[in-house]
Symmetry: C2
Subunit: 146 residues, 2 copies
Amino acid sequence: MGLTLENFLPYRMSRLSEALSAEIRPVYKDAFGLNRPEWRVLAALADLGPSTATALGNHSAQHKTKVSRAVRALELRRWIRREAVVADRRSEIISMTDTGQRAYCDLVAPMREREARILDRIAPADRAALERALLALEAATGVAAG
Amino acid sequence: MGLTLENFLPYRMSRLSEALSAEIRPVYKDAFGLNRPEWRVLAALADLGPSTATALGNHSAQHKTKVSRAVRALELRRWIRREAVVADRRSEIISMTDTGQRAYCDLVAPMREREARILDRIAPADRAALERALLALEAATGVAAG
DNA sequence: ACGATTTGGTTGCATATGTGACTATTGATT
DNA sequence: AATCAATAGTCACATATGCAACCAAATCGT
């Protein structure tokens, strides 16, 4: 009759997500003083190249207020810069500064390393199952890439 | 050189977890006025039967401050009750009231239904991969059940 | 038996987040 | 061109969360 939290998919995913997040957080937070929205905006910017805040939000799955605050913080830090768009004066193009580029590069290596550290604890066959499961869930929840 | 957010495991898990959470949140939040910690404490209590706050926190993967606040809220609502423990006067045994029991039962059905709605969008073979992946990740991150 | 340590739980405070309202601008309709 | 709707982004406010300090009771070491 009960639900058994342990077997409830949303709970399991949330707990795992939390565990993974805890594994990588020290890198961007303790070592670089970023919070998660800031880290994500930076990563999105690296993925996309110069883009608008809206595009960064879509790519990093974050609400526009989170993006807005993250952009301001990164701008104050001089890791990113904005420039007006002549065609549309509502939006601004955001791009990384050289300092930001360097910081991002320094950030990526340990991030990858943490991810690898987790994946290394999983047998290859299970890793394949994981990739398959992720794709299936992404399709099922409609978060599919853009 | 970049990281490609789309392929970064912690990001993918976080985004999926968020999507699943959004799918079930309306049930406990809009329909019952609970927040997530409260819902989890209730579910943990149903799983474990009368328990201490610490046990509920362990079972629901929540920090003790979250549990403390959730317990107070549920108590004010008269869905749970506390009783002193003679053997150890620091802790209290928390248990569901009849009202809480009924509410929990009303909650479980739609929760299951939402979960099923998601799983139904996944092919059986992919569901098997999902279960395998979850077990592997749970082992790899040490969140294994208690 | 007594001080030091640990454990169960709560509280205060700083920070993070979600929501809705708001400004400015653009695009669509007529 | 005048209006209406949609879009980009910011802001203010209420709520949620994490962290450290804290209290009280139990346990440990001597």
